[in-house]
């Protein structure tokens, strides 16, 4: 969940005070963090996103954990200082800041992070412990994707100094609006009615649709996901859903990877980010396609999944695992999606979103027509 700066500072101090108190009593301090893994993942369609179960990762101080704890306390100090000064950093920058601190203070040498993985892990440990977003601690990822086009949407942003900025997307010409990874600071409204929002897996295809006049002809919001959605895209979709209450569709490839890693994450979040799914998923988004039935109906060129390709083989294996273990795909509300996974496993074929361009090659607007037809006829899952 999101926490305010004051709450984070208070929580951090209390945690450190507890650890110190335990040490004074020669008692081993224990740190607890939510376990972010599939085996601690719950799904309830009424909630709409993946939530953590009761499992915690307990880290008790001993010879093997003393390094991890020392690193966490060290990094916490850096992050608290950033909150205090209002400075902002990416994870990579924090890696270098840590290295700099350690260079200037030889006593800290043993803490040194050899690879960025190690400092990233420490940051994640802290956020899981405090149950906050790293953005709350002024740590931003290099969030990509989410370029958004609309003739109706108006975004009002509250800046750190309290002033407000208003962005009218229709005024941006061919430039898209790019959401930031803290969409909680954005307020949305529309000029007139908007019928739907469309999220396209490929940012390139999103751009093509817009260039061919999609947003001119339709009262809509159109955005590109650029593969697995970043926090920015996820938070942004959630914001659109909450503030505008319009139907939302996802258009992407028909394959196991898209369904599990891209669409599921957009709709319900992921097991790795259990503590942030509530603000970073849009449970109402529908899967518009490509659907298995579209292949036949539009005679789309599809092709066989090469099981010899390790990446594709992994995706298939993951799909069959998901059908067994993933509470999202096992939920009765998501039967339709599970059915697609079954279809993919059985037929071992895949079909890309761009195949819509094959239907009537001379008509650049054909894909738009199909998308609109599908929405109109409610051909989605």
């Amino acid at each position: 969940m999101a926490r305010t700066e004051e709450a984070i500072i208070k929580l951090s101090k209390r945690l450190c005070d507890m650890m110190l108190g335990d040490l004074e009593k020669a008692k081993r301090p224990v740190l607890e963090a939510t376990k972010c893994a599939l085996d601690n993942t719950l799904y309830n369609h009424k909630v709409g996103y993946l939530t953590p179960g009761g499992k915690m990762v307990r880290t008790e101080l001993n010879v093997s954990s003393v390094k991890k704890m020392s690193r966490a306390v060290f990094m916490l100090e850096v992050l608290l200082r950033n909150i205090d000064s209002g400075a902002v950093n990416t994870k990579r920058e924090l890696y270098y800041i840590s290295k700099g601190e350690i260079k200037h203070s030889p006593r800290l040498k043993p803490l040194d992070f050899e690879e960025q993985d190690e400092s990233d892990e420490t940051i994640d440990f802290i956020t899981e412990m405090l149950e906050c977003y790293r953005e709350d601690m002024n740590c931003y990822a290099n969030d990509r994707g989410g370029q958004t086009y609309s003739q109706q949407l108006v975004v009002e942003e509250t800046l750190p100094d309290g002033t407000k900025a208003t962005i009218e997307l229709s005024q941006l010409g061919t430039s898209p609006f790019q959401p930031k990874n803290r969409p909680q600071n954005l307020k949305l409204r529309t000029k007139g009615k908007v019928d739907f929002a469309l999220i396209v897996e490929s940012e390139g295809t999103a751009n093509t649709l817009v260039a061919n006049g999609f947003t001119k002809r339709n009262k809509c919001i159109l955005l590109g996901a650029q593969g697995v959605p970043s926090n920015a895209v996820r938070g942004w979709a959630k914001r659109i859903q909450d503030q505008l209450a319009i139907p939302m569709y996802f258009f992407g490839d028909l394959d196991a990877y898209t369904l599990q890693n891209i669409y599921r994450t957009l709709k319900a979040g992921s097991a790795a980010s259990l503590i942030r799914n509530s603000d970073y998923s849009a449970p109402d988004v529908k899967f518009l396609g490509v659907l298995p039935e579209d292949i036949e109906k539009y005679d789309l060129p599809d092709y066989a999944v090469k099981e010899s390709d390790p990446q594709e083989a992994r995706a298939l294996k993951k799909a069959s695992d998901a059908l067994k273990n993933d509470p999202f795909f096992r939920d009765s509300r998501n039967k339709g999606l599970a059915k697609i996974l079954h279809w993919l496993l059985k037929n071992k074929r895949r079909c890309e979103q761009q195949s819509f361009f094959s239907v009537s090659p001379k008509d650049p607007v054909m894909p738009e027509k199909i998308i609109l037809e599908k929405i109109k006829n409610r051909v989605y899952v």
Partner: protein
């Protein structure tokens, strides 16, 4: 000790050939000339002592005595003194001045010398380069005074001549001293160095006391670590399938006037009446040929007989003729190589490889001083032995090296680049003993690597590796403890300081927390320490158990020789090896009687070896070397 009827010196051929081809027998370079001279003398001393049940004590001197006559050479003095039986005066010219004069020739024993070339070649080299032969002092138990003389080779006539004969008082009951002055160069270090040669001898001769002085260094003494003289098994007759035609013909010369059939039956192992029958029936050998006197047989006859023997099936030779140093003695001996952290030794049971009986022994030690040095990244030092003679050349082609590089040492905790020798301060000694060892070349420098032999050596190495890994693991635990303690010391204060800064806590709280942290982590360290102690105790227990298994009490000086490792297989087992070619197996009754007779004879001697045939092809109990597969 041996009941061999043909004991005594025999001669053949001429010295001329060898004097022109000295490079073939180890005199191919200046440094090798010195090493080979030393080697032939030391081999002879050790063989002679062993033959006569004497605990050897050798004095070895190698030094520069002037400038050499050849370009780039020095004049080198090599002297080897022993407390052996001495050489009867009438034999001295033969021993040092005649080629192919040997008491060991063709006897199928695991002796170091085999064909009577060695020491005469050394005399020849010395004579050709410095014009002086071998200076010999020798005294047998029967002589009151010792004979001192200079032996030279009469190359034209393959005869030794004595000069400067003198009888002198000598401070010992018996023994031999031989000194050469030769052109050569001293190479002390490296694989082919003199130090390595002496070190190797020290390892495989735990019963030897060695005094040596190399070049300008002081005298060094290495004391014996056992009073057990290796039990030299009775000789076996050669197996026809292991001989070349030339050897086959030469072998006949040892027999004088006997019938061919008698020669075949008595002169070879596994040539039984049924084999003779098979030669007649399936190979067309005529009765007349078998009844011919062997000294009248011509080359064509020998060729025919030889071919026939190669074509009939023969039982594999007996493994009784091999000799082992023994794990207990190796354990002690390997610690003479320097400061040793830990070691493991393995004596395999005798086995048959390529129709020859062989026994493989392995000793691996990690050396302390090398570990501390800068060469910890270097490959393990390899000591190779064939019939307890160190092999120092042509490593790459050797069966022992072949086996060493194909074992996966990483399984046992050693570092090893792919298909190479393991890395680290280890000495890895492999000894192969066989009465009919197959060398790659005439100067006896490498063991021919047949698949069977390599596999047998690999098994021994894997067993040794398993034993070694116990030490390495317990050591890894100790290192882990060390690391943990360091960990605590490093991170503890950093953690507390961080917490204090974030909370703004007082100095007294800080002090108390530091105190508490020390207590907590101290408890952890104690636990880790306990784990290490437990691991060490387990290792100790294992070592005790394995000693007990070999029938050695902890404090038993020079205890028994692994008797139960040489498990007797029932005679039927030996027959399994025989294929259907020969008509019939030898009548069991006879075979048994023979075995019994031998057993009794050995017991009377006070030397206990094995009673009946023991091909011993099955695996010893320890570990499962199959792990790697």
């Amino acid at each position: 000790m041996s009941a061999n009827p043909r004991k005594g010196i025999t001669t053949s051929s001429t010295a001329e050939y060898f004097s022109k081809n000295l490079q073939q027998v180890g005199f191919s370079s200046q440094t090798k000339a010195v090493l080979t001279t030393l080697k032939e003398a030391v081999d002879n001393s050790l063989d002679a002592c062993e033959d006569h049940g004497i605990l050897p004590e050798l004095r070895v001197l190698v030094e520069k005595s002037g400038a050499g006559t050849l370009k780039n050479s020095d004049r080198i003095r090599v002297r080897v003194e022993d407390n052996g039986p001495g050489i009867p005066p009438e034999d001295i010219p033969k021993v040092f001045g005649e080629y192919l004069a040997s008491s060991k020739f063709g006897r199928g024993r695991c002796s170091r010398g085999q064909q009577g070339i060695g020491i005469s070649a050394a005399t020849t080299w010395a004579q050709l380069t410095t014009a002086t032969g071998a200076r010999v002092i020798s005294k047998t138990a029967g002589q009151r005074k010792a004979l001192s003389c200079l032996v030279e080779v009469d190359i034209k006539n393959n005869k030794g001549t004595l000069k400067e004969k003198d009888t002198i008082d000598w401070d010992r009951p018996h023994g031999t001293s031989v000194e050469f002055e030769l052109d050569g160069r001293i190479q002390l270090n490296g694989e082919a160095g003199l130090t390595n040669y002496l070190l190797g001898n020290v390892l495989v001769n735990p019963h030897m006391t060695l005094h040596y002085k190399l070049q300008d260094a002081d005298w060094v003494t290495v004391e014996r670590v056992t009073n057990e003289i290796p039990k030299i098994p009775d000789s076996v007759e050669p197996h026809p399938h292991t001989m070349k035609l030339g050897e086959f013909i030469a072998h006949s010369h040892l027999f004088g006037r006997v019938k061919v059939e008698a020669w075949l039956r008595k002169g070879f192992s596994r040539v039984t009446p049924s084999v003779i029958e098979a030669m007649k029936k399936t190979q067309g050998i005529k009765k007349a040929l078998l009844e011919k006197n062997v000294d009248q047989a011509g080359d064509a006859d020998f060729k025919e007989l030889y071919a026939a023997l190669q074509n009939v099936e023969l039982m594999a030779p007996s493994t009784q003729s091999v000799l082992s140093i023994g794990e207990h003695a190796l354990e002690k001996s390997i610690q003479r190589l320097g400061d040793v952290d830990f070691f493991s030794v393995v004596t395999r049971r005798p086995a048959i490889c390529d129709f020859k009986p062989v026994q493989v022994e392995v000793a691996i030690a990690r050396q302390k001083n090398r570990a501390a040095g800068t060469d910890a990244d270097e490959p393990a030092q390899v000591l190779r032995f064939a019939n307890r003679v160190p092999l120092q050349f042509d490593k790459a082609a050797c069966a022992i090296v072949g086996a060493l590089t194909t074992v996966n040492w990483r399984t046992y905790g050693l570092a090893q680049p792919k298909a190479s020798l393991p890395i680290g301060p280890y000495v890895m000694a492999v000894s192969v003993v066989s009465p009919f060892i197959k060398f790659k070349n005439a100067s006896k420098e490498t063991i021919d690597s047949s698949d069977e032999l390599v596999e047998e050596i690999r098994r021994a190495l894997m067993m040794a590796g398993q034993r070694l890994s116990r030490h390495i693991k317990s050591e890894a635990r100790a290192a882990d403890l060390e690391r943990r303690i360091q960990h605590i010391e490093q991170f503890g204060p950093i953690l507390v300081e961080g917490l204090v800064r974030i909370t703004g806590a007082s100095a007294s709280r800080k002090a108390k927390a530091e105190e508490g942290l020390r207590k907590i982590l101290g408890r952890d360290a104690k636990e880790a320490q306990a784990a290490v102690t437990e691991a060490n105790e387990k290792l100790e227990e294992h070592l005790k158990a394995s000693r007990a298994r070999r029938g050695e009490a902890d404090d038993d000086e020079g205890g028994g020789e692994a008797p139960e490792e040489i498990v007797e297989a029932p005679p039927e087992k030996a027959k399994v090896l025989k294929k259907s070619g020969g008509k019939k197996a030898p009548p069991p009754a006879k075979g048994k009687a023979k075995a019994k007779g031998r057993e009794r004879a050995l017991r009377a001697d006070g030397v206990e070896i094995f009673g009946s045939e023991s091909p011993a092809m099955e695996e010893p109990g320890e570990g499962s070397p199959g792990m790697e597969g």
